[in-house]
Symmetry: D2
Subunit: 377 residues, 4 copies
C-alpha cells in the first residue's frame, strides 16, 4: 500500500495546480458604497451554510463566492441541530471555519466563526457569530445555547423573524426574555429576498441592529443572477478599522445598513450620509431663461440604483416627478423655468423621497438637492 | 432528547419548502442540436466531481446544474483513490449516485453511476461508467480496477490523456495493453477547455469513442459564464432511445460528437449531418443581375456558432470569404454577379470549410451550399 | 471639374464596400411565435418615422433594425403635416419608401408604403398604410385625407388614441363618423410602451383591429434594450400568405395580436391558440405517491415569457399558485399528492389565468393544463 | 390655411414632450481613465457622420450617443464632396454643427465644428476640426481645401491612411508636402476597428498626433455592442482645461492616447502613467514562507482590460506568466516562494509587458510591480 499512498500525494500536487489556475481566472466585482462619517464601509454576509449542515457546497466555495461578489466579511453559520448530511459528513461545528480559513487568508477576506442555533417556534433560529469555539453552543436546552454564545462574547441576532409566523406576532416571550437579558443584539430585516416589516419595527423599538443576509444554501449563482444586475443580500457595516474586533464593535453599536433587492434599510443617521456621499450633482449653478430647459447631470457612485420621487414643489421651476439613478451611471435631471419675468439669482431646494431607502417601515429617506439658479428673462 | 429530535423533524419540513421554492424559480436552457440519421441527440456530461472526492459541491448540485444547462445525461465520477475530504466526508463510492438519484428523477435527468480510477502516470486516470456497484473497483492494483469495471460491463474511457505528458508520448504500454484487451473504449479529446490533439489522432487510429467532459470540481457557474455566451463541455450522443442502455450502446458504437469551447470534434459521418441539419439557407433560388448583390438568409438552428471560410471559387459569382453563423440567429450571405453577359439558369455550389468543426486533428469539415442561380443581363 | 466628379464616383464605390461589410456582420434574432389555425404568424411594425418627418434616422436604418429585430413586415409612416426638418430635408412623402425599398428587398423584408395623418385633437393621428401614392393624402382638410386614403384602399388605424386625452372620452364625433363611414379599421392599443385601456374596449365594442406599434423616432436601440431582454412593440398578424395583399387581408379581418412590454393583447380566438401552441408540458402522465412531489417540465417555445396564476383548486393535488414561463426556456411545475389513500387513475385539469395575456381590458386569458394522474398509496 | 399652421404648432409641442421623456430615461456610462501628469483626461470622437453626407442619422443622434457612451468631446465631420443624399438633404456644411449644438449644450458635451475633405487617392481623406466656417473649405482643388482649413487654424489629420493602400506606401508626395508645410498635424492609427501599423510608425517618425475615431455612419449601437463589453473607438486627450481651446492645444501638443478594440496606442510618456494610475496592487508587503503561496489583489480602475505577460524572472519567487486585469475589477496575483532557506526582507520587481498597450508598432509597454517581500523559513 505504500505505492498507493504515493499516488495520492502526486495527485494532490497536480490537482492543486488546477485549483490555482481557476483562482487566478476569477475576478472580484467590488461592492461600491462610500465610507461615511469617518467610518470605513464593509460589505458583510453573516449567515451562510455549507455541506456541514443543510447547505450543498464545501466551505471554501463560500469564501470564493464572497470574494468574487465583493464582500469584505463572511461568516459560515451552519445549523447545530439540523444535520441532514450527518450520515455522510461528520458533524463537527468548528470544521467549516477551519476548512475555509486558509482560503479566506489567501483572498484577504475576513472570516468570522459562527453557528446557527436552530430551534422550533416560537424560539426560532438565532445566529451567534464571533465565537471562539462552536462546540459548547450545541446544548439540549435552547436557552443554554443562547446564554453560552453570549458568554463567549458573541453577537447574537434573530434570523428571519417572521418566516413561519406572518401575523405580526412572532415576537414572543422568549424574544422578550432574550432582549431583557441583553442576549439578542440584532435581527434580520432581510433574509435572502424576504423583507420582514414587523421585525423592522421591532428592531427600531428595541434598539436592535438591522441585519441582512443571504442565508445561502446553494451555490450563490443559483440564487442571484449578477449578469442580470441582481446582487446578493448583505449588511453594510461602518467600522473604525478592518479587523474582526472593529466589525464586532460596529455591530453592537448598530452601525449598519442592509442592502437587498436593490433596497437599503437603515436608520436615517446612516442612510442619509450614505445617499449623500454616493449621489452628486455635477453642476449646481444653473441658468433658466424663460421656459427653456436646463439639464443637470447626476452621478451615482454606488452599487445601488436609486428611485426618487418628488416630494413637493418649487415656485417657478419644474423638475422631474420621478428620477431613476442607476448604479454607477450618470443621468440628466431636466429643470425648466416657469417663463415668468423674474430675473436674478436664487437658491432652490428640490425635495425628493428615495423610494428604495427605508428608514422605518413604510417610511422613505427624504433628501434635497440644492441648486443656485440664475433666472434670465 | 425526544423533543430535540422533534425539532429536527420540523426543521426538515420547513427547509424543504425553501428548496422547493428555489427549484421552481430555476429555468433550463435547452442544448439545441438536431437529431440525425434517425437517432436522437442527447447532451451528456460523463465526468464530474463532488465533495465525495475532491469536488466542492453536494451531488444534488451536479444534477440541478446539469438540468439548468440543458443536459440530458449526467455521470458523477468521483475519484476512488484521491479523497482529500476523507476526514470530514465518509468515503463511500456509491453515495454520490444514491444522493443524486432522487433529484435526477425529479428533474427527469438520466443519471449514470460511475467512478474515476485515479492512478499515477503512465497509467493516468480512467472513468468507468454504467457500473452496478462502485465499491469493488477500489482495488490496490490499478489493472484490477480497470478489469473489474469491464467485468461489470462498464464503458471505460481515458481522461485528459495528455494532461501531464505533452510530448505526444502519453500513450504507453498500459494504454496499449488495455486497448488490446478491449478494456478501453474511449478517450477525452476535450477535458474542460483543453483539447488533446495527439489523443484525437489516437482515438481515430484505434477506433475509440471521442469524449468531451467538464471534469467539473467547482460550482459550474465558476467555470462557464453562460451570460457571456460560454457553454460547458459536453458529449453529444446519438441514441436509439432515451434509456441508459441506449446511451451505453451508442457510446460503444462511437456515435458521439464533442462540443467544447464552441468547437465540435466528431467523425465526419456525424459532423456532416449535424451541420447540415442545423444550418439552412432560407432561399436557394437567387437571381443575379449584372454586378448587383443578392442576399441569402442563413439560419443556424443550433447551440454552436459556426465559423466558415471559403474553400474555393465559383466562376462568375463572388461570395463571402468568411461567414460567421451565430447560434440561433439568421445572417445574410451576400452574393454578387460578375457582371458578365451570361444569362440563363445555373446550379452553383459554394464550398466552405467549417473552422470550428474538427473531423481529425487540423482537419476541418468541408461543406457546400447549393444554389440555383438565374443570371440576368 | 470632371476629375472632381470622378472622385465622387470612386468614393461611392469604396464606401459601399464599408456598408456591405457591416450588413454581413449583423445578425437577426427571430421573433418566435407559432403559426396558428392554418395561418402563418408575421411580426409587423406598421408605425415608424425617419428624418423625412420628425424621426432622426435615414429610412434604410428602419429596414435594418426591423430585420435585426426579427420583423417580417415594416411600414415607414412619416407625418404629412409635421415636418420639423423641412428646411434641410425636402418634403416628399413617397421618398422614405423609395429609399428603403432596395434595402428591404435585399433583406427579404416586406415594406408597406404608409403615412401618418397628423391633425389636432379631437381628430388626432391616423396611419394609412398600403397606399399607392402618399402625396394625394396631404390635403388641407383632415377628413379629405382620411377619405382619400380609403379611396386608395388603405388600411387606416387610429394612433395612440388616449395620448392627449386620458379621461376616457377621446372617442369623439369624428371617430364615430369615420367608423360609421367604414374609414377607420383599427386602433393602437399599444403605442411604444403605453397601453390604452379605454381604446382597447372601443376596439372590441366597434369591431376594430387591435394594433401595436413602436412609433419609433430614434434609433431603435435607444428605446428597447434587447440585451436586458426587452423587445420592441409589434403586431402579430396571422396571414394566409407572405404577401402584402395577404397582410392587408388579415388586418382587415382583424387577425392580430399585439405584443408589447412582454404582454399580449388579442381577442381570445387568437390568444388561446397562440399560448397553446407555444407552451407544452413535456410529460402529461404523472404518478403521485402519498405526499411525494412530481415535477412536470413545461417548455415555452415563444419570444414572450408568460406569468401564470392559479385560478382554482384540484382535489387531492397541490400545484403552483404562480408559475413563470420564461421565453424559450423549460421550467418545472411541481405537483404534490394530498397523501390520501386514493389509488387509481384520474384525468385532472389545472386551471390558470395568464396575467400577461389580455383578451379584454382587465380580463386575462384562462387556460388549463390536462394531466393523467396515477395515484399510488 | 391658418388653422392648418396652428395644427403644426401644437404637434410640435406635444412631440417635444416625447423627446424629453426619452432623454431622461437615458443613462451615461462614464469612460474611466485617470487624469495624469496634471492634465485632465477627456474622451473624444472627432470623426463621425450624419445624413448630411453619407451617414444615416440626424446630427442630434450623434450627440446623444456620445453622451451615453461617456464621451466628453465630439466632432461631426461630414464629407464635403461625397453627398449621396443630396437630392433629399440640402448640402450645407455648417448645418450638422448648428443642429447638434443645442443638444450638445443640454448634455454639457463639447461639440467641435469639423468636416472631412474627401479626395481620391493618393490624396485620401483628411479631417479638419476647430473650423469657424465649413463652407470655404469646399473647393475644387484639393490642396486649397487643406490650406484653407489651416488658415482657419484647424487641426488637420489624415483619416484611415492605409484603407485603400495596404502595401505600406500610402504616404506619398502629397502627404510629405502637407507635412513639410505644417498642414497635417495628426493621423488615425485606428479608424473604427482597423489598426494601421505603418501609419503608426509614420506618426512617430514625423512627430504627428496619434488619433483614433469611429468614423461612424450608422447608429452607434449597430457597430459597437456595449452589452457584450465592446466600446467605441476614441482618442483620449490630456488637457489643461475642459475648453475647446485646451483640447485644440493638447491635440497640437500630441497629448493623446488611442483606445480601440480594448487596445491603447500611445507614446510611452502617456501610456506609462495611464497604466500606472489605473492599476494598483492593494498590498505591496507580502510574506513568503517556504513554498507557500501569497495572493496580491490587483485592482484595475479603468475602462480598459489589460493583458499582461511576464517579461523576465525573479530569483526565488514565481509569479504569473500571464495576468488578465479586467476593466473595473480586482484579480489575484499569485506569488510563491522557491522554498529556499533564505529569510529576511527584500524588495523585488516583477517585470511585465502589457500586450494591449502599443507604444510603437509591435512594441508593448513594459511595466514593473514593486513588492516588499519577507521570506520566512
Amino acid at each position: 500500500m505504500r505505492k498507493h499512498a504515493f499516488v495520492f500525494l502526486n495527485a494532490a500536487i497536480v490537482i492543486a495546480a488546477f485549483i490555482v489556475f481557476r483562482a487566478q481566472a476569477q475576478e472580484r466585482t467590488e461592492v461600491v458604497f462610500p465610507n461615511i462619517k469617518g467610518y470605513k464601509t464593509l460589505a458583510c454576509d453573516l449567515h451562510t451554510h455549507t455541506v456541514f449542515s443543510d447547505g450543498v457546497v464545501w466551505p471554501t466555495v463560500r469564501v470564493r463566492e464572497a470574494w468574487r461578489n465583493g464582500l469584505d466579511v463572511l461568516s459560515i453559520t451552519d445549523h447545530l441541530e439540523y444535520l441532514p448530511h450527518k450520515d455522510d459528513v461528520r458533524p463537527e461545528f468548528n470544521r467549516p471555519y477551519e476548512i475555509a480559513k486558509p482560503e479566506a487568508d489567501n483572498l484577504h477576506l475576513m472570516l468570522i466563526r459562527g453557528v446557527e442555533i436552530t430551534r422550533d417556534e416560537p424560539h426560532g433560529h438565532f445566529n451567534a457569530i464571533f465565537l471562539e469555539d462552536c462546540n459548547p453552543i450545541n446544548t439540549p436546552e435552547q436557552k443554554d445555547a443562547v446564554r453560552l454564545a453570549n458568554e463567549q462574547g458573541a453577537f447574537v441576532f434573530w434570523n428571519h423573524p417572521e418566516w413561519k409566523r406572518k401575523d405580526g406576532k412572532a415576537w414572543c416571550g422568549i424574544q422578550q426574555e432574550y432582549h431583557d437579558l441583553g442576549w439578542m443584539h440584532g435581527l434580520e430585516v432581510f433574509n435572502a429576498r424576504s423583507y420582514y416589516k414587523n421585525a423592522h419595527q421591532w428592531a427600531l423599538d428595541n434598539d436592535l441592529t438591522l441585519m441582512g443576509t443571504t442565508d445561502i444554501h446553494s451555490p450563490i449563482d443559483e440564487a442571484y443572477d449578477y449578469a442580470r444586475g441582481e446582487h446578493r443580500t448583505m449588511t453594510l457595516v461602518f467600522v473604525e478599522a478592518e479587523t474582526p474586533e472593529a466589525v464586532k464593535e460596529a455591530l453592537f453599536a448598530k452601525r449598519t445598513a442592509v442592502f437587498a433587492n436593490n433596497t437599503l434599510v437603515a436608520r436615517e443617521e446612516w442612510a442619509a450620509p450614505l445617499f449623500e456621499a454616493a449621489v452628486k450633482l455635477q453642476t449646481t449653478d444653473i441658468s433658466l431663461k424663460g421656459k427653456n430647459a436646463f439639464f443637470v447631470p447626476v452621478h451615482n457612485h454606488s452599487s445601488a440604483s436609486y428611485e426618487l420621487e418628488a416630494n413637493g414643489r418649487v415656485r417657478g421651476v419644474s423638475f422631474p416627478g420621478a428620477l431613476r439613478l442607476p448604479a454607477g451611471k450618470t443621468v440628466m435631471m431636466r429643470l425648466q423655468g416657469g417663463g415668468g419675468t423674474t430675473s436674478g439669482q436664487e437658491k432652490i431646494v428640490l425635495p425628493y423621497r428615495v423610494k428604495n431607502i427605508l428608514i422605518a417601515p413604510d417610511t422613505y429617506l427624504e433628501i434635497a438637492f440644492e441648486l443656485n439658479v440664475t433666472f434670465c428673462e
